[in-house]
C-alpha cells in the first residue's frame, strides 16, 4: 500500500498543499475487504433463501416450485460466501489456530471482530441446516432443478449414502412452526452481518470510516443487495421465465441499491465537507486516477440494478412485460447483479486503500 501513500502525497501536492508523508495505513491487505464483503453477501443470500421459503408457504405451494429453487441457491450462496469470508480473514491472521479456537481465545465481546466471528459462524450453521432440509428428503428426491447438484455429487459418492441422508432428513424434519423460528433466528444473524460496517465505523483514527450510521448502513444495504442478486442470478441462469417472484426480488434489489446510492452520496458530501486533514487526504485519493475510476464503477454497480430491477419489476407486476423485454430482461438482470457484486467489493477495497489515519503529531 506504499503506492497509496505516494498517490496520496501527489494528490495533496496537486491540491496546493505541501507534501505530507503520512504514517502508512497499511495494516490490512486486500483479504479484509473480501472478508467484509462476503460476510454480508452471505447474510443477503440467507435472507433470500429464508424469504423464498416464507413466500412458498404463504402462496400455499408444494415443495417443488421456483421458490424452493431460489431457497436452495440462497442457502448455497450463503454457505459459499461465509466460507469465503472465513478463509479470507484467516489468511490475514498471524496465528490461525487461535482464531479457529475462537470460543476459547476471542473473549473480548466489546470487539467487533469477536462479535462478528460469532455472527458469521452461527449464520453459517443456520444456512447449513436450512440447506440440508431443502436438499434432502422425500420432496427433494422427487424434485428437479440445477440447485440439486449436491445430491448428484452425494449419489455419485454413494447412492446408499444419499438414501440414508434422505431418510435421516425426513425423520428430523421439524414442523412448520419450528421452521419459521429457524428462519427468523437465522435472518437475525443475517442482518447481524452489519457488524462488518461497525468494524470500520468505530475506528476513530480514520475519518473516512468513522461514521456510526452511514458506513454500517451502507455495508448492510449494499451487501444484502449483492447477496440477493447473486442468488437470483444463479437461479435465473437455469429458470429464465420472469414471474412475480423474480420481479419482487428484482424490485427489492433495486430499492436496496437506491438506498445504497443515497447513503453513498451523503457520505461523499460529508467527506468533502470535512476539514480533518486525514479526511481531506482520503477525498484527494478517491478523486485521483484509478481510484476515481473505481469510485464511478461503484456508482455504476448501484445504478444498473436500481434501474434494470425497477423497470423489469414494475413491468412484470403491471403485466406489461413485452416479448422483447422478456427476452432481454433475464440477461440484463443477471448482468446488473454482476455489476452489483463488483461494485460492492470495489467499494470496500476503495475504503481500505483510501483510508488515511489522522496525522500523528505530539507537539506543543
Amino acid at each position: 500500500m506504499s503506492t497509496t501513500i505516494s498517490v496520496l502525497s501527489a494528490a495533496l501536492a496537486a491540491a496546493g498543499n505541501s507534501e505530507v508523508i503520512w504514517h502508512p495505513a497499511d495494516y490490512w491487505d486486500l483479504s479484509i475487504p473480501v472478508y467484509l464483503f462476503l460476510a454480508v453477501v452471505a447474510g443477503g443470500a440467507y435472507l433470500t433463501g429464508a424469504s423464498a421459503c416464507l413466500i412458498r408457504s404463504l402462496r400455499g405451494k408444494g415443495a417443488c416450485c421456483l421458490e424452493t429453487e431460489i431457497a436452495r441457491w440462497g442457502f448455497l450462496v450463503a454457505i459459499a460466501a461465509a466460507a469465503g469470508a472465513g478463509l479470507a480473514v484467516l489468511s490475514h491472521l498471524a496465528v490461525i489456530y487461535r482464531a479457529i479456537l475462537f470460543p476459547i481465545y476471542l473473549t473480548n465481546f466489546d470487539s467487533w471482530i469477536t462479535i462478528g466471528t460469532w455472527i458469521l459462524v452461527l449464520l453459517s450453521l443456520f444456512a447449513v441446516v436450512c440447506l440440508l432440509l431443502q436438499l434432502f428428503g422425500e420432496h427433494a428426491a422427487s424434485d428437479e432443478g440445477a440447485s440439486l447438484f449436491p445430491r448428484t455429487i452425494v449419489a455419485w459418492v454413494s447412492p446408499v449414502l444419499l438414501e440414508t441422508i434422505d431418510g435421516l432428513v425426513d425423520r428430523v424434519r421439524p414442523p412448520m412452526s419450528v421452521f419459521a423460528g429457524l428462519h427468523l433466528l437465522g435472518s437475525l444473524f443475517a442482518l447481524g452481518t452489519i457488524y462488518t460496517g461497525f468494524e470500520l465505523a468505530i475506528v476513530d483514527t480514520v475519518p473516512l470510516w468513522n461514521d456510526p450510521v452511514i458506513i454500517p448502513a451502507l455495508f448492510l444495504t449494499s451487501g444484502v443487495a449483492a447477496g440477493i442478486g447473486a442468488t437470483l442470478a444463479l437461479t435465473m441462469l437455469f429458470e429464465r421465465e420472469i414471474g412475480p417472484v423474480f420481479a419482487g426480488y428484482a424490485l427489492t434489489v433495486s430499492l436496496l441499491s437506491a438506498v445504497s446510492l443515497a447513503l453513498l452520496y451523503y457520505g461523499w458530501i460529508l467527506l468533502a465537507a470535512s476539514d480533518a486533514p486525514a479526511a481531506a487526504a482520503s477525498y484527494a485519493t478517491l478523486t485521483d486516477g484509478w481510484y476515481y475510476v473505481g469510485a464511478w464503477l461503484v456508482v455504476l454497480g448501484f445504478v444498473a440494478p436500481m434501474i434494470i430491477g425497477l423497470v423489469i419489476g414494475l413491468a412484470t407486476f403491471a403485466d406489461r412485460l413485452s416479448p422483447t423485454l422478456e427476452r432481454v430482461g433475464g440477461p440484463a438482470l443477471i448482468g446488473s447483479f454482476g455489476l452489483l457484486l463488483v461494485g460492492g467489493l470495489l467499494f470496500r477495497i476503495l475504503l481500505l486503500l483510501a483510508a488515511a489515519q489522522n496525522p500523528l503529531v505530539v507537539i506543543g
Binding site: Y105, A276, I363
Partner: protein, 217 residues
Amino acid sequence: MSADDDHWMFYFDPNRCIGCHACSVSCKQRHNRDADADDWRTVSHVSSGEYPDFREVPISMSCMHCHDAPCEQVCPPDAIIKREEDGIVTVDRDRCIGCHYCAWACPFGAPTYDEEGLMSKCNLCLGEGPGGGHGQPERQTPEEGGAVPACVDDCVGGAIKAGPKSEIMQEVSEEAAERFEQGAYEGRVIVEPLKEDGEMADSIRNGDELNIVDMAR
C-alpha cells in the same frame, strides 16, 4: 478523562528534544531488538516553510499507555491489557492472533508487528523484549528500585519523562499541566507547549502547511 494518579504516563518536551534518535536506539538496545525491526519509539521531524523561514521540530513518540487504551478495547482475544496496578498497557503474545486491529485503533501508531506477525510495543521497560511486560509485577519507580525507561535514561536533552501521573505532574510547567487538565491529547500524554515557534505549533495543531518526515518506520 485522564489517568489515575498512580498510573504511569509519558511526558514530552519538544523544546528540549534535539532529534538525535538516542531514545529510539536505546529502546532497541534495551529490548534486544534487531536494528531493522520497527521502532517502538519513533523520532519524526516536523517542518514548515522554506528557507530562510524554514523551521523543524523533532518529536519522539511511542505507546503512550493511554488511560482509555483504544487498542485494548478492540483487541478480540484480550491480548492487550491496561493494568490496574500501574496503568501500563502490556501485550500477551500467547493470545495475539495478529489481526492488526490495534494498529487502526491506536492514535499514535504505536503497535508494531514482527516476522511472526504478532504485536509488540513499548512496555515502559516493565520487562524486556516483545511481550516482556506481560504478567510482570507492579512497576516500581527508580527510587523504589525499578529501572528507568531506556528512552528517559538516554535522552540527551531531558525531553522525555515517565512515571506515575502524580509525580510527573509535579515536574511539568504550569502551562503544560493546565493544558493537560483541559484535555489536550485526550489526556493520554503530557506535552510541554512549544515555546519558540507558537505559529508553527498552531499550524501543526491544524494539520496544515507542514511536512512530516521520517514517520514511516
